[in-house]
């Protein structure tokens, strides 16, 4: 069974399943997570297995889903709420920022909010308007939260296990573009991945690409065949961010390209530049570059391929940063 290659949807499902068995306080709640198993089938089968005390189809109200989860967590449960699409977490931010992220501070650690907010994130699936947003920045920029984004089945499994054992609220973005696009071996009853650690998705010496989520796969595809040795840092944990991994890679390569789906201005690329400035500036051999979503609203499906970073744009940036 462990040898079987599974998708990210299955991997998250497995992590949830195992953690629900291990920890009876884990509860899943959200719109359509029960009978339907989630609109992407991530929670499929869990209602049947754990019953409707622990897997709950809620009314359609994101701020209440998050806010009720805050109460559940303080009350000793470990809620995992699903927000059907990350764009609709806007409705929940009024609970996440003022409450989830602050209860520990507010009470000097005496009341805490260990909960997980899962949401499919990003574009690439020819979806309706508002179903392709990448809104990680506002969560990363909110102290008190842990923000994770896996890039494939194995990391999704390991990070979800970590999320379910974390002591604070974890925002867990699932790059829906790769929900079923990658199959990997994933352990059964495996270990959590550490929070705050990036992985080297591909080692190299000439250029560092820092990226996360669906753009890890895309970056790998983009640099395949380029006459350049590219190191790809898969960030995985957006906050806390693996500062040392970024710095170490850029010290080695001297060149940085950041790739993200979110709009360019105010995106996390800037943060990564800042980390490099703090600890690897003198190792830079060329200006840092970024390949991002454009500073426009995410378009409807006909134009999404023109919006998202594609292999051409990534390859061009790598080539340019080598020339600079």
């Amino acid at each position: 069974m462990s040898g079987e290659r599974i998708t990210m949807v299955q991997a998250i499902n497995r992590a949830l399943d195992e953690e629900m068995t291990r920890d009876p306080s884990v509860m899943l709640l959200g719109e359509d997570v029960g009978v339907d198993g989630g609109v992407f089938r991530v929670t499929q089968g869990l209602l049947a297995k754990y019953g409707n005390d622990r897997v709950i189809d809620t009314p359609l109200a994101e701020s209440a889903i998050a806010g009720v989860a805050v109460g559940l967590a303080i009350g000793g449960m470990r809620p995992v709420c699903e927000i059907q699409f990350s764009g609709f977490m806007n409705y929940a931010f009024e609970q996440i920022q003022p409450h989830s992220s602050r209860f520990r501070q507010r009470t000097c650690g005496s009341l805490t909010v260990p909960m997980v907010v899962r949401a499919p994130s990003g574009g690439g699936i020819r979806a309706l308007e508002h179903h392709s947003e990448s809104e990680e920045v506002m969560y990363v920029h909110t102290p008190g939260l842990i923000t994770l984004m896996p890039s494939g089945p194995r990391t999704a499994y390991g990070l979800m296990k970590a999320a379910l054992r974390a002591k604070d609220t974890v925002i867990f973005f699932e790059p829906k573009y790769v929900y079923r696009a990658i199959k990997e071996e994933v352990p059964v009853n495996g270990d959590p991945l550490p929070i705050g650690k990036a992985e080297i998705a591909q080692a190299g010496t000439d250029v560092t690409i820092v990226t996360w989520g669906a753009m890890v796969k895309r970056s790998k595809e983009a640099v395949k065949g380029l006459p350049v040795s590219v190191e790809i840092v898969d960030l995985l944990s957006l906050n806390p961010m693996d500062h040392d991994a970024i710095v170490a890679s850029v010290r080695k390569t001297g060149r940085l390209v950041v790739v993200h789906e979110a709009p360019r201005t105010g995106g996390l690329a800037g943060e990564i530049y800042a980390r490099v400035c703090e600890d690897a500036f003198y190792h830079l051999r060329a200006p840092m570059m970024r390949v991002c979503g454009w500073d426009t609203p995410f378009p409807l499906l006909a134009r999404e391929a023109a919006y998202l970073p594609d292999t051409n744009r990534i390859a061009a940036a790598v080539t340019k940063v080598m020339r600079d």
């Binding site: 359509d32 339907d36 992407f40 089938r41 309706l128 179903h131 079923r180 426009t296 134009r303 051409n312």
Partner: protein
């Protein structure tokens, strides 16, 4: 004001009147009911319902063929949509959610536009100048507030229009819908809050959406009128909306109308209702179908025949064929893949303009427009809104 003292009060009673209905499931007028419109008008509105249904059905086929993207059918909800919009006029604002193709068509939205939108082109939801129609609103519930603002703007301009906003039973749980009704109550901005209670919010049944016995009674919280109607009865919907609009126009009072109906089809083209509801439930609603009911009524009155039905259907099919051709011609006319830059803000700043140039250079002639032109991949994909890439 007595409310603001601590003096004892008598207590308060709130009533939601019996569900309004003109036609029974066989299309017969219920005891003593007078039809609220002429036969000619009824025939006309019936035509609109049929048109919406056939169009809807065609969209489903186009989606299955990979010629359009995800959409949300109005199948089964035609009476709610045509009946309500027929009670209003062009001076009134129409604020849809995302399942109101039947209402939009009645309002005059070109089929071509709806198709272009479903193909993934924003051009499909450009509002014609002067039209008081908002585009589809995907985030559930948010549009309710827009209706209040539009009604308020009209009130400020001493313009006699009102606003109608559509939302679902699921949306009735969103705080913004309550907040909007509460604002409308206080501001006396006349809005018809039309809740199409189609029994389901994706897989979530009405029963676990709220513990309130009706959705109509949520009006009590906002101090506005609440009424429930048989949403599969065109006459009931029409009469209730007309009354709500009249009250709104004359007094500023808003009304929440709950139309009891059923989403006969999929939530969207990527949904599979068999996972969460029974065939028996679906069948029970077949005999309550709003279009069939009206046809029986008109036939019994002798103002409609199979021959007329055939003629109507061929007219509609021809219209659809024409619209599909036009929309596909648009798609094939090489629309600018970078149009999103042009409508981000009124004045593109230099940095955005520079991005557009970068984007143009990155395309370097490659065809990246997708959507309607891409081949539909089949598979176990179960997203309600899009299509997942599948690993080997």
């Amino acid at each position: 004001m007595s409310k603001e003292s601590t003096e004892p009060q008598e207590g308060w009673v709130f009533e939601i009147p019996p569900r309004l209905r003109f036609l029974d499931e066989e299309g017969a007028l219920v005891g003593g009911a007078e039809p609220p419109m002429s036969d000619a008008k009824a025939v006309e509105l019936y035509g609109h319902m049929v048109r919406a249904r056939i169009f809807d059905d065609r969209l489903l086929k186009l989606q299955r063929q990979g010629r359009i993207g995800t959409f949300a059918p109005s199948f089964g909800q035609e009476a709610c949509q045509v009946g309500s919009m027929a009670a209003l006029g062009p001076q009134d604002w129409f604020v849809p959610a995302f399942r109101e193709a039947a209402a939009a068509l009645y309002r005059g939205a070109p089929m071509k536009s709806i198709l272009m939108y479903a193909m993934g082109f924003e051009e499909g939801s450009a509002t014609p100048p002067g039209a008081r129609d908002l585009p589809v609103s995907i985030p559930v519930g948010g549009q309710a507030a827009h209706a209040v603002g539009l009604a308020w703007a009209m009130k400020r301009k001493k313009d006699k229009g009102i606003a109608i906003v559509f939302f679902g039973d699921g949306a009735s749980s969103e705080g913004i819908v309550y907040e909007s009704m509460n604002f409308a109550g206080v501001l006396r901005t006349p809005v018809v809050f039309f809740c199409q209670n189609n029994q389901w919010a994706i897989s979530t049944p009405r029963r676990i959406q709220t513990a309130s016995e009706t959705i109509a009674q949520k009006a009590v919280a906002a101090g506005i009128r609440g009424i429930q109607v048989d949403g599969n009865d065109l006459f009931a919907v029409y009469a209730a909306t007309k009354e709500a609009a009249e009250i709104g126009r004359s007094s500023g009072m808003s009304t929440l109308i709950e139309g009891i109906t059923f989403r006969r089809g999929v939530h969207t083209t990527a949904d599979d209702p068999s996972v969460y509801r029974t065939k028996a439930e679906e069948d029970a609603w077949v005999k309550r179908d709003p279009v069939d009911r009206m046809r029986k009524y008109l036939t019994a009155r002798g103002v409609w025949s199979d021959k007329e039905q055939d003629a109507l259907e061929s007219r509609i099919n021809a219209e659809i064929q024409q619209a599909v051709a036009e929309a596909e011609a648009f798609r094939d006319s090489d629309p600018d893949p970078l149009a999103m830059f042009d409508h981000t803000v009124a004045e593109m700043d230099p940095y955005l303009a520079r991005q557009k140039e970068e984007a143009r250079a990155a395309l370097s002639g490659r065809a990246v427009l997708q959507g309607a032109t891409a081949q539909k991949k089949q598979g176990g994909s179960s997203s309600v809104v899009g299509e997942l890439q599948e690993a080997e």
